[in-house]
Point group: C2
Amino acid sequence: MAARNYSRKREAILSKIRGTDTHPTAEWLYRALKPQYPDLSLGTVYRNLALFRAEGEIVGVGTVHGQERFDGDTSPHAHFICTDCGAVIDVKADTADDRLYAAVRARTGASVTSHALTFYGSCKACLEAVTGS
Amino acid sequence: MAARNYSRKREAILSKIRGTDTHPTAEWLYRALKPQYPDLSLGTVYRNLALFRAEGEIVGVGTVHGQERFDGDTSPHAHFICTDCGAVIDVKADTADDRLYAAVRARTGASVTSHALTFYGSCKACLEAVTGS
DNA sequence: ATGACTGCAAAGACTTTGCATCTTT
DNA sequence: AAAGATGCAAAGTCTTTGCAGTCAT
């Protein structure tokens, strides 16, 4: 069962993810923690992210511009992803209720454990950058 | 404006995508077409997929087990993804209506152009493989 | 001590791209 | 001929992993 030992860096990584709403990449976390943990390695960040995800402590939001984005907020909510700048923004609205789960289950014969609702488009900042307003 | 020339292989790739509901990967398409087009290269598949996607002729469904999955059916519908075997199954149910789009727009100030609703879990086949039924 | 965690660097996997060649128009 | 499309192989990115050393229990 792979008993988990305490790890200062692991705590820092989890804390960092939970302390931001930018839905960071592994690289972002690495850079953010590097100043405080000069000997931190990217491999450790990846390893811990995989661990957190396996344990349900964080969630993957999907791949944006080739990099996986993570979310420390595991409560059900949707996301908006800017296809221009790659920003991932929380959207506190979600309509996938129990009835929908049941419907998917009925139609596919599968066991449904989670879902993701994601919107795409251009974020406010990118829109304004174009119009110059 | 990059006028497009006719290409036998391009047609075959698009046709292949549209002729399956497996939401294939680039590799899958490559293998599927290789017998009939022995000199087809993987690069060509990727190039055309990128082109189709840019033109809205196909849609990316997301990355599953590290590989992007494509869908030739661009009509609005949801997907179920089996986290065990990676199967991607169409779900003809979707609740993201205009009101939701408007809500996201209002909350984020962004322009919303599309969305994706994806369910995760274990597909029927994988469930049965476990129980041995 | 024993098992877990990490740094480092190499390896892996998927996708993109440069260039010469062949096709389409 | 001019512009576009492709094959091939190299390069690029992101992520995973083997190994030896370090830390937690």
